[in-house]
Symmetry: C2
Subunit: 170 residues, 2 copies
Amino acid sequence: MSGPRWLNTSEMRAWRGLMGMSRLLFEQLGRELGKEAGLSMADYEVMVQLSEAEGRRLRMSDLAAMSLLSKSRLSHQVARMEATGWVRRESCPSDRRGAFAVLTDEGFAVLADAAPGHVEGVRHHLFDLLDPDEIEQLGAITTKLYQHLNTVVERDCAAPKRDGAVSEAV
Amino acid sequence: MSGPRWLNTSEMRAWRGLMGMSRLLFEQLGRELGKEAGLSMADYEVMVQLSEAEGRRLRMSDLAAMSLLSKSRLSHQVARMEATGWVRRESCPSDRRGAFAVLTDEGFAVLADAAPGHVEGVRHHLFDLLDPDEIEQLGAITTKLYQHLNTVVERDCAAPKRDGAVSEAV
DNA sequence: CGGAAATGGTTGAAGGCTAAATTACCTCGA
DNA sequence: TCGAGGTAATTTAGCCTTCAACCATTTCCG
């Protein structure tokens, strides 16, 4: 039994930095978005995905995957957004289990209004502080890690099912 | 009025990468911690801070600052941990408003049990995928951003008070 | 065909998080 | 010494998230 391989100084700096930085960054951006446009990061993310999609509509599953939300969470999220009028549900003709989430004109307008300020925030708290090299490095590192994690999460959350029932034994 | 400065390709890659990566990373580590040791990332973080402190105890405010939790959230958090027996509260003799959170022996044992697996997870999902240069870069970038954000958050959350009442006008 | 299993999506309950209000105490200055 | 204002921490209420159970439909396959 070899003891656990603890983090060295360089690793510890990266770990603490990453943890603190991402926590504060997303909290801060969320706060600003809430104050300036009255929406949450989840609202924003969902609307962005819809706005970029063909016909401003996506199947719930696809939208969930793109926004990195669980199906359940997306369902609640869309329910709230439907209540405020930013999104509408439509049933899918080809698969009667399915549902589309559609961005309404009102939703699009809200997004268009919020976007410039949000991008400014991202610049102000992130890119304005980094030089082009650092942005490249950050992109390379995070993309690589992201891809790895995607496969891990898929494996981990598909066997024990992210939602849905568990099939007992073989 | 110049239009908003949208993100260029490099920036967009870094932004999407950072967002996706950090979401998945912390979710995954949290899931593993929950499965393997029965505790949340917040539990873990709080216990680490306490375990490293003089006498395994910290004032609630200091603990909140170190763990990047709001006072309110920490109060709830510690209440739960007290109920499970991992932490105990002690009142502060020198300032009777104050309270210490103290890591119990049981809490320390739970942490000691959880730590090796958690560190393995951090290695497996993060450092094993990066070479030393990249770890250096990540550390440099995140530390710089973290420091900036700390000042921003302090400013933003101290004027409109993170808790407490607002003093009207001058 | 017909039934088992898988898929798409929703629901409800339980618990966590946030913001605002509250309690209790300390500090400073007139 | 008194009171105004600040600080430490908790509490309450409302919203959000998660987990597990559920319904409806489709697909797979003997």
